[in-house]
């Protein structure tokens, strides 16, 4: 009977813990801390950052949230183990976590007061020296019914209903040239649904970014280098498509951003262990 109930609701907490079992005696807690920064300056909702991108733009950020998933630790021998995330009912669900750097104050008006910079879970005890993860919502979670989705997939400002999924990254701000907003929404595109509205196979552009961080240890903070992400884009100019990038392959702003994220093939280069 329990089994049947699990089958109804999809993979439950238990099914994510194939290895790295949090109940195992050999597992240890792990906290992976992130810091979103423009150079040496952390992201805040009350600042304007100068000298960004190809246009040396002045940029006032208004939102920064991103879904991250599939955290995996690796050792020098080439062995790996998944990070089993704590199922906190809030920021983490299965192997997905939401990083939220905006606090709905100052220039940020779209999000939530709560913030989250830390991914928490357990790993098997070991000498883990590098880390990998993905930016994005895993396919199995990305195309569910958002009206009944569990936290953190129940935030309407991260719904991406016209594409039938979620915004993996929501980074927004205002510049001198685009005072009404420069917007970056990363998400899967080219998805198709069946007659009942369910996505049946992978999208033509999944747009999930793969990240590998060598020379890593759990004590280090992972810097999300927004200045690096934006370095190839002109934040004062809309070169076509949406002002910024809403993941349209032909949008000129997307090319610069996708390159930094290693999309479609490659690794993102905007994360650094410090």
């Amino acid at each position: 009977m329990l089994w049947l109930l699990l089958a109804c609701t999809g993979p439950g907490k238990e099914s994510g813990d194939v290895s790295g079992d949090s109940n195992s005696e050999s597992s240890v807690p792990i906290s992976i801390t992130f810091d979103a920064r423009f150079g040496d300056t952390s992201f805040t909702c009350d600042s304007t950052v100068e000298g960004l991108g190809t246009g040396n733009s002045s940029f006032t950020p208004t939102d920064l949230r991103l879904y991250v998933s599939a955290f995996t630790v690796h050792n020098a021998a080439g062995e790996q183990a998944p990070v089993s995330l704590n199922q906190d009912g809030l920021w983490q669900l299965q192997d997905l976590a939401l990083l939220d750097f905006e606090d709905k104050t100052g220039n940020c008006s779209n999000g939530t007061s709560a913030t989250n910079h830390v991914v928490q879970g357990t790993v098997p005890a070991g000498d883990w020296s590098s880390l990998s993860f993905e930016v994005g919502v895993p396919f199995a979670l990305n195309h569910q019914d958002v009206a009944t989705a569990s936290s953190p997939l129940n935030l309407s400002t991260l719904f991406w209903s016209w594409q039938g999924g979620y915004k993996f990254i929501r980074l927004e701000g205002k510049s001198t040239g685009l005072p009404t907003g420069w917007l970056f929404h990363l998400g899967s595109t080219g998805c198709e649904t069946d007659g009942e509205g369910k996505v049946t196979e992978a999208c033509s552009s999944p747009n999930r970014a793969h990240v590998e961080i060598a020379d890593w240890s759990p004590e280090k903070t992972i810097a999300l280098r927004l200045d690096s992400l934006l370095s190839g884009a002109d934040l004062d100019l809309d070169g076509g498509g949406a002002p910024g990038c809403m993941s349209a392959p032909e949008d000129p702003e997307c090319a610069a951003l996708f390159g930094k994220l290693g999309i479609p093939a490659g690794n993102a280069t905007i994360f650094e262990a410090q």
């Binding site: 009977m1 109804c8 019914d145 009944t148 309407s156 209903s161 016209w162 069946d194 007659g195 032909e250």
Partner: protein, 368 residues
């Protein structure tokens, strides 16, 4: 154990709508109903209140019904919809009449196919802002819980829910109301299905023959009881969801539509999807001016000009171009010539697709 299995899969097909009686016009099949949202009178009535309730917008100025008004055939009579904060939509509001029969929703989407999923677009969309509820869903629940009537109405519509006012039930109730919006009482229906030859004028009857002729080809895309080719019903076995480029634009000589809206191409990035949109139903079409996805044609007479030319030519401005030579254009938009009398007849037929009784019926009106 059997009970649990049923809970997983939803009720079986034949028992989807226990106790709900469809008011189906002659010739109309039963609409498709999602397994997890069977129809009920309580849901339809709750959905009607929600559809017309301005508390469903962030600043409490607009409801679904602001852009889908019965007197305009459930559109807003505008070229471009205007959201609750004044932002202008790139597209023109579509009719929601007979929407339960459409195999796809919005002007061009191969993703959004259920009314429950579609409701999320106007509620939470931010480019542009429509109802402007993004990030305000908890406040919406608070507003509805504080109402004198809603808690009881939600409990009656969703008796199995412990805490029935939530996003899932809101979208399900609105979807149920929209599925109940079935219009099939126009003069055309009275003649075609009711067998009453006096229901349509001689002009309109001649126009009907033209409409369904191979000379004009209208009926290929505007076919059947729903007057569209993207239709589904309970008896549907294969999905039919089609999109067409009608040569409305050709801004670069190579087939491009204006960058602001390139139809299905915006979703798929497939070159052949450039300028492709879903054929809207023509029911109540005389009430839904202006026309096309962007409201760029003011009258039905000018719509006939567009199709007679096999595509629109725009002489000046940033959208200038010869639509008739758009390489992605549908093979059915080849152009035709009409005499003045034929034009009058065709317009009379299109006007005979208006179902006044439905559009003025109390059960589809704003209850507030």
């Amino acid at each position: 154990m059997l009970w649990l299995l049923l809970a997983c899969n939803g009720p079986a097909k034949e028992s989807v709508d226990p106790g709900y009686t469809w008011k189906l016009p002659e010739g109309f099949p039963t609409p498709v109903v999602p397994d997890d949202n069977p129809m009920s009178d309580e849901k339809v009535e709750l959905g009607r209140y929600l559809f017309y309730d301005v508390r469903l917008s962030g600043n409490q100025t607009q409801s679904c019904g602001s852009c889908h008004q019965p007197q305009y055939g459930f559109t807003d009579g505008k070229a471009h919809a205007e959201g609750s904060t004044g932002q202008i939509h790139r597209r023109s509001s579509m009719s929601v009449v007979n929407v339960g029969y459409f195999s796809g929703l919005t002007w061009a989407s191969n993703v959004v196919k259920t009314l429950e999923a579609q409701a999320l677009l106007p509620l939470f969309g931010e480019t542009p802002v429509e109802l402007g509820m993004a990030g305000l869903e908890e406040e919406l629940f608070v507003r509805l819980r504080a109402d004198a009537d809603y808690p009881g109405m939600f409990a009656a519509a969703f008796p199995e829910e412990e805490d029935p006012i939530n996003l899932d039930t809101i979208t399900k109730a609105i979807g149920s109301f929209e599925r109940s919006l079935i219009s099939g009482g126009s003069p055309y229906d009275q003649l075609q299905y009711g067998g009453d030859p006096s229901a349509m004028t001689a002009e309109a009857r001649r126009g009907m023959a033209l409409f369904f002729s191979e000379d004009l080809e209208c009926f290929h895309c505007h076919q059947g009881f729903a007057f569209t080719d993207s239709v589904q019903s309970e008896s549907t076995t294969f999905e039919e969801l089609l999109f067409h480029n009608t040569g409305l634009y050709n801004v670069d000589g190579a087939g491009a539509y204006p960058e602001i809206d390139q139809g299905l191409y915006d979703l798929t990035q497939e070159p052949s999807d450039m300028g492709r949109f879903r054929a809207p139903s023509l029911r109540n079409i005389a009430k839904t001016a202006p026309y096309m996805h962007d409201g760029s044609i003011a009258t039905l007479d000018e719509v006939l000009d567009h199709y007679a030319a096999g595509g629109r030519t725009i002489l000046e401005g940033e959208n200038a171009g010869v639509g008739s030579s758009n390489p992605y254009k549908s093979e059915f938009v080849t152009g035709f010539t009409l005499t003045a009398e034929q034009r009058t007849d065709l317009l009379a037929f299109l006007n005979a697709l208006t179902d006044e009784e439905f559009l003025t019926s109390p059960e589809v009106q704003d209850p507030f």
